[in-house]
């Protein structure tokens, strides 16, 4: 692992277990997007895993992702699941090579720049909201 980042470490509570979902949630609720960078293949992810989804490496470094990035694809959902009111927009956003799925406040197009503006909360599972 490379040198630790204090902005990340404060959510990890000194755990050696790597980035847990609990830590990821806590950070998101403080408007910090955490993710992982693979020391072996370089893949960057916004969804913490126990091993790299691309190469299987266990050498994953917890990282803080930028909070602004570019829309890779998007859809406007007019028939929402229970617990959401439609229509609303969902996008895949690229944040310095890490891609995440997120809600978006308004209609956007592929290539648009967006930034983190808040958190969607349902059933104790927060999701990032961009705008």
């Amino acid at each position: 692992m490379s040198e630790s980042d204090p902005a990340v470490d404060r959510f990890l509570e000194g755990s050696d277990a790597g980035l847990t979902h609990t830590a990821w949630k806590r950070a998101l609720r403080e408007d910090v997007l955490l993710g992982e960078a693979c020391a072996d293949c370089g893949h960057r992810s916004g969804a913490p895993r126990a091993a790299c989804v691309r190469c299987g490496s266990r050498e994953l470094e917890p990282i803080a992702l930028p909070t602004s990035g570019e829309v890779i694809t998007e859809t406007t959902i007019a028939v929402p699941p229970e617990g959401f009111d439609g229509p609303h927009t969902v996008a895949i956003v690229e944040l310095d090579a890490a891609r995440i799925m997120a809600g978006v406040e308004e209609s956007v197009d592929i290539g648009d720049s967006v930034e983190l503006v808040g958190v969607l909360e349902r059933d104790d599972e927060p999701g990032p909201l961009f705008g």
Binding site: A47, T76, I77
Partner: protein, 388 residues
């Protein structure tokens, strides 16, 4: 080389049914057993698929329940759940169990109730379906399954110029095929204008781009190579591929590739010793029109980016160069989730036997089934061929 043979097939009409899961399953399983000419005592095991019975009806442990209902209590049985790829996964295991494993004859099928007959409304059922997406890193964004495929298809439109009209042509074709299938959920033709005028579900998909919520069941009897000749109308399974991909979709290498389909197809073609060019017809997982476009590319029928233009040019119609979804597909035949995989196998079997009447593909000797689960994370590809 045959891995196994399908020696009996049965399915219900797809659409709303006021019946229990067991009753629905029996209406596919008992005809499949009758078609094969097998009875209790001949069937070594039951492999069953169901995705949502626990969530929608508080009904789990369906293996022994369905076995009891059709008179097979006692045989080993297990329930598979792999989202929309559920019963083709059960089918794969049944094929492997007779190919090299302990069984000679296996009954395999799927059953699902998705219509408001369950008592659940559209938002509740939409939430149940999205249980197949990542619980922590996708569901909280308010995603739905039309939305997942909307994201993939919008990217495809961006990269390749695929158009809404091309997507609509997929729906028009599958509805036309569905009018020829008495078991189809929808029996009416549609046209491009009607598709484009239907209400938005998840951009770029309108209601008529989307498969319906259906109830239904399907089942086939699988026999080992050694036993197949003792049946009347065996159709051989010559290749199966099964691959998975990364969850969540944001971490996939290429959003438009449906990588698990490419890998599963490659395995199936290799096992069957054929290529995409050898396939006479295909049942594929057109949960949304865009999914069919992506799948026709992933399976190697068309180059990347050519799926939309190919649909528009009629190349996938019943009399086209590669008929796609002669049954009407999920779009028109319907999509009772856990029953869809083996329903594709039923169509392959009956097409290759030459039993499907006005939707018969001429000289249908090699058929391919493509069944996709979740956010393109599971794909099963099956090759079936006329017995020679």
């Amino acid at each position: 080389m045959p891995r196994a043979s399908v020696v009996g097939a049965g399915m219900t009409e797809f659409g709303p049914h006021d019946k229990t899961l067991s009753e629905l399953f029996a209406e596919a399983a008992l005809p499949a057993m009758a078609d094969a000419g097998v009875e209790r005592g001949d069937v070594d095991a039951l492999f069953v698929g169901n995705t949502l019975g626990g969530t929608t009806e508080n009904d789990t442990h369906l293996g022994p329940k369905l076995a009891s209902h059709v008179g097979l209590a006692g045989v080993p049985t297990q329930r598979f759940e792999d989202a929309c790829a559920t019963s083709s996964n059960a089918f794969k295991h049944a094929v492997r169990a007779v190919e090299s494993g302990p069984h000679d004859v296996v009954l395999v099928g799927g059953v699902e109730r998705c219509t408001p007959e369950t008592g659940l409304d559209t938002p509740e059922m939409t939430k149940a379906f999205v249980s197949a997406a990542d619980r922590q890193y996708e569901q909280p964004a308010g995603i739905t399954f039309p939305g997942v495929f909307g994201l993939l298809t919008k990217r495809h439109m961006h990269e390749y110029g695929t158009t809404e009209e091309q997507l609509a042509r997929v729906a028009v074709k599958n509805h036309a095929n569905g009018t020829l299938n008495p078991r189809a959920h929808f029996g009416k033709e549609t046209d491009v204008e009607s598709v484009l005028d239907s209400p938005l579900v998840a951009d770029p998909f309108r209601l008529m781009d989307c498969c319906p919520f259906s109830d239904g069941a399907s089942a086939v009897v699988v026999a080992s190579e050694a036993f197949a000749d003792s049946f009347d109308a065996p159709v051989d399974v010559t290749g199966i591929g099964h691959a998975t991909d990364i969850v969540p979709i944001a971490d996939k290498e290429r959003l438009t590739a449906t990588h698990s389909a490419r890998e599963a197809a490659s395995q199936a073609y290799e096992e069957a010793e054929i290529g995409a060019d050898d396939v006479d017809f295909c049942e594929l997982h057109d949960c949304f029109t865009g999914a069919e476009v992506l799948a026709t590319e992933a399976l190697g029928f068309f180059a990347d980016g050519e799926g939309g233009p190919a649909a528009e040019a009629g190349r996938t119609e019943l009399d086209g160069e590669i008929p796609i979804n002669p049954s009407g597909g999920l779009k028109a035949k319907g999509h009772p989730i856990g029953a869809t995989g083996t329903a594709q196998i039923v169509e392959l079997t009956e097409q290759i036997r030459g039993e499907v009447g006005s939707r018969q593909v001429p000289e249908a000797t090699t058929g391919l089934a493509h069944n996709l689960g979740g956010d393109t994370a599971t794909t099963l590809v099956t090759v079936m061929e006329a017995r020679t």
